[in-house]
């Protein structure tokens, strides 16, 4: 089961959701630029303390910026007349900053949280227990099914299978998916019997209770209020500047 996270997982998740919500609201390029800068600084601070983080962050940024590349191909260029559109380039810049600000901030805020930690934090924020249970069981199930998939793929390779552009690839992929579903159903029955044998007869999640909000030390709240302050500051600075 998960270990206790510092700062509190609920506050980190709430801060990540707040960033996602507010950044989606912001249209000012200046504000988005400042927020992206703040998020970059926060990511650099985490990078100093966590050696694994830069690798994970760069991978995530590469994925989101693949989508950004499509935005820059489609928005600023009018492909019929092959002309540059200023409104399109402004929108592309706005989306680029939004997407990167959210990716940087959310990756930083949720760094080192796994699926179980996230489920526990979400339940602590009021998400139904059954959804937390489903998430926790899904994390475990992925490990089990992934090993089944590895075995099946090994067997496929042993029979000289190689994915190509062909009907055979589609047929073999369909067989792989079918077998994964069959394995999932057989395994789910075994898991159900195991859970029942352990007296687990509800969809509630027997997880540790969170500390009460008022019992959390001030240092725990600093991260959340720091995020709120950064958003307010990013909103106010361009207004003061102009």
């Amino acid at each position: 089961m998960s270990h206790e996270h510092r700062p509190d997982g609920r506050l980190r998740l709430a801060a990540a959701l707040l960033v996602g919500f507010t950044v989606s609201l912001i249209r000012s390029i200046d504000t988005l630029l400042i927020l992206t800068l703040f998020a970059t600084v926060a990511a650099v601070v985490i990078t100093v303390r966590d050696e694994e983080f830069p690798r994970i962050l760069l991978k995530r940024l590469a994925i989101v910026n693949f989508f950004v590349a499509w935005i820059w191909i489609t928005l600023p260029i009018d492909w019929l007349t092959l002309s540059w559109r200023t409104s399109g380039s402004e929108l592309a810049l706005q989306l680029t900053l939004r997407i990167n600000a959210i990716a940087l901030a959310v990756s930083t805020l949720l760094s080192r949280m796994n699926g179980i930690d996230l489920a526990r934090a979400a339940v602590g924020l009021g998400v139904p227990q059954s959804l937390g249970t489903l998430l926790a069981l899904a994390v475990r199930s992925i490990v089990l099914l992934d090993s089944t998939r590895s075995r099946l793929e090994q067997a496929m390779r042993a029979r000289a299978y190689r994915a190509t552009v062909s009907l055979r690839t589609i047929r073999v992929s369909a067989q792989l998916v079918s077998w994964l579903i069959v394995h999932a159903l057989v395994r789910s029955e075994r898991i159900r019997v195991g859970l029942t044998a352990r007296g687990y007869t509800t969809t509630r999640w027997p997880t540790r209770q969170h500390s009460h909000w008022h019992a959390l030390p001030i240092s725990e709240w600093l991260l959340f209020f720091g995020v709120v302050a950064a958003i307010v500051l990013a909103w106010l600075l361009p207004i003061i500047w102009n």
Binding site: L91, L134, I142, L145, A163
Partner: protein, 202 residues
């Protein structure tokens, strides 16, 4: 098929989150201690099939199979797809946490539609491989077609004319996804109908 965080406007962002929450709430009401392990394993299946890539020309497409999941699970598809998307966002940064509502809605709503549109025909089709193939084909068509339609509607609702090219490109990019997904779904439904028909029986 994921929308990136930051691309949607606030009304779409909030509206899709509300609709997804409603769908998840209905799905969770159908979740029982008996169906919990299979729902979790289907979330794992949905997560893993998202990592199976099929080559097409110089690139590849990954399987979605939301129509198939919907056909098998009904309203449970909402929480199951939501959980898989949470894990995809956490582990691979696909989509992102800020647009979980929108991405859940665009994948799970067509899944539920596929369930209600095709479920009445399932039991009559169990004896015939050809009927099962058609069933899988229609499930994928509703799943992928519905998801593409919802995604384009979400982009259109931002009111940005400049997004038109992106919407067209997004729609066109779904055509090979639909072809591959439809072929795989059809074969999976046929295989399950032949070897494990009880999976389709309530």
């Amino acid at each position: 098929m994921h929308l990136a965080a930051g691309v949607l406007g606030l009304p779409t962002f909030v509206g899709s989150a509300i609709l997804a929450t409603a769908g998840i709430a209905i799905g969770l009401r159908k979740l029982t201690p008996r169906s919990l392990p299979s729902a979790a394993l289907f979330a794992a299946v949905f997560f893993i099939v998202g990592t199976i890539h099929i080559p097409i020309g110089i690139g590849s497409v990954h399987l979605i199979l939301n129509g198939l999941i919907g056909l098998l699970l009904g309203w449970l598809a909402f929480p199951v797809i939501f959980v898989a998307l949470v894990l995809q966002a956490l582990l691979f940064s696909f989509g992102g946490f800020a647009v979980l509502g929108a991405n859940t809605l665009l994948l799970a709503a067509p899944a539920v539609m596929a369930h209600f549109a095709l479920r009445p025909f399932v039991e009559n089709s169990l004896g015939s491989q050809r009927k099962l193939l058609w069933l899988g084909l229609f499930a994928a068509t509703i799943g992928i077609g519905g998801a593409a339609l919802i995604a384009v509607t979400m982009l259109w609702s931002t009111g940005q004319q400049a997004l038109l090219n992106l919407m067209v490109l997004f729609g066109v990019a779904q055509i090979p996804v639909w072809i591959i997904d439809a072929a795989v779904s059809a074969l999976v439904v046929a295989t399950l109908g032949r070897n494990l028909p009880q999976v389709f029986v309530k």
